[in-house]
Symmetry: C2
Subunit: 330 residues, 2 copies
Amino acid sequence: MKRILTGDRPTGKLHLGHYVGTLANRVKLQNEYDTYIMIANIQGLTDNFNNPSKVRDNIIEVIKDYYAVGLDFNKCKIFIQSEVSAINEIFVYLSNFVSVQKIMHNPTIKTEIAEKGMTESTPLGFFYYPIHQVADILCVKADLVPVGKDQAPMIEDAREIARKFNQTYSVNILPEPEALFGITENLPGTDGNSKMSKSLNNCIYLSDDDETLKKKVNSIYTDPTRVKATDKGHIEGNVAFIYHDIFNTNKDEVKDLKERYVEGKVGDVEVKEKLFIALKTFLDPIRERRKEAEQKQDELFANVLASSKVVSGIANQTLSEMKEVMKIKF
Amino acid sequence: MKRILTGDRPTGKLHLGHYVGTLANRVKLQNEYDTYIMIANIQGLTDNFNNPSKVRDNIIEVIKDYYAVGLDFNKCKIFIQSEVSAINEIFVYLSNFVSVQKIMHNPTIKTEIAEKGMTESTPLGFFYYPIHQVADILCVKADLVPVGKDQAPMIEDAREIARKFNQTYSVNILPEPEALFGITENLPGTDGNSKMSKSLNNCIYLSDDDETLKKKVNSIYTDPTRVKATDKGHIEGNVAFIYHDIFNTNKDEVKDLKERYVEGKVGDVEVKEKLFIALKTFLDPIRERRKEAEQKQDELFANVLASSKVVSGIANQTLSEMKEVMKIKF
């Protein structure tokens, strides 16, 4: 069974964007692959080092979200990055096989540095995190990494670094991981922004209660050209209908709403009321399981720590093989 | 007793430049300080990763050189860097407290990158080694670091990183190390270059035999303006006399040679013959002890591995304190 590695930074609760982008896919993948899911708290700290409580608290939130969406803690190895010490050592040795200039040209990190206003002063840890991620992947010798198209350069880095390491020491220790492209579209935020993102404050969280959900649905960006319910409306780029398409299982209802919308025969209020019901129907079982997760929080956390030990063992083995060929085993 | 940390990259045998610059000083310091001496093989690999045997083989050469010059393996903790895993983890966490731009302006690393022809493509591991060195220093909470003036920026980095870490978490875990300036002059190479350096092939090694020593002494750069022995000679910048001043214990002989040299009353041959005797006298007991070290190589290596374990314990303790305040202890 092929091995996959994926994960999240514990810097916030998970939202519908995560669900659509990766969580739903993971729930499927866990049945087909040897699945490793990393809670990336070291990387979470790189831009939150002055707020460690935020990272600490969100570890448990993410664990509950994982349970809530249906990840099976016995099938998957869900682990905490900082509990796998060898990742850092592997990272240091891999750092000899990638240049600073290459990282600087990585489009993802370039954009992120600009977005975070770090152009003048980029913390070293944040700068090299894409290479630290390579160590995450290679330490468990993952065959596949589920990513969006925008993360393809990171997988290319991982492949190149593994290849160079193997070539330099004439061995075949580090397998070159492959990208496993899933759903690549971002879910738009409630404000119409192309991406649902905590920092944009446009998210519907898996853990939102009905009241919060209701408020957020009512605030959803629809068709700015439409002033009153009798105006002909537009479906394209209309977040309410994008959400209907994804989350409303009653396809006839969605079809009917769309037809009436373009003809100016239905108001935003009805569209949103029905969306609220659809999202509530979608979220209810997730929220139910999240309550369950709260009940057995300690048990889940213990499971994660146990998995972290297992992953640590695997990473130590990888490190040991690497040290052997670098002639630093004594 | 205050703690000092110092060390060498195991990328070659040690030479007279090392002796004058640091080894002689260390032999004194070991009686006054709690002395930690690191064999920096991780950093040695950053620009020798494609030649791991070189680094591996030179670890034992450096150990023998240490013994030969009189370092006491029971007084000092002589340890191998790669055996102290926590250094890498500490490095990763410290990386949040220094910027890429700051490293780029570090004069030492700038010069080295240029010298090694790495301007277009700088391996990440080489680029950040000054910060990895900060982790070396802070992991044992060294109070003092014996350095030359050219390494002062590295100590400044260490102080700043320690300070920022402590401030961020409102703790006092990492002491700010201070530079302990020793002899700051470089010993010139046999070719007249201002620095004795393996890469310039101008070194007299502590382990050179008499024949090699004789050849090297005969090749020493003296006074290029002097054609024959009766020409008046110059003492300044004359490597033969610089070595006489440092290594010849017969000060009257040196005075006499200098007087006759400036008057054109002594040839290079005599100056060099006497220098050979002086260096031989200086090196003989060192080479004697080096032979002894060869006899008990296994014992010395075992001592180093045992010290590495002790240092690892100290570094793990430092790491544990850091993780506690970063809220990543579980």
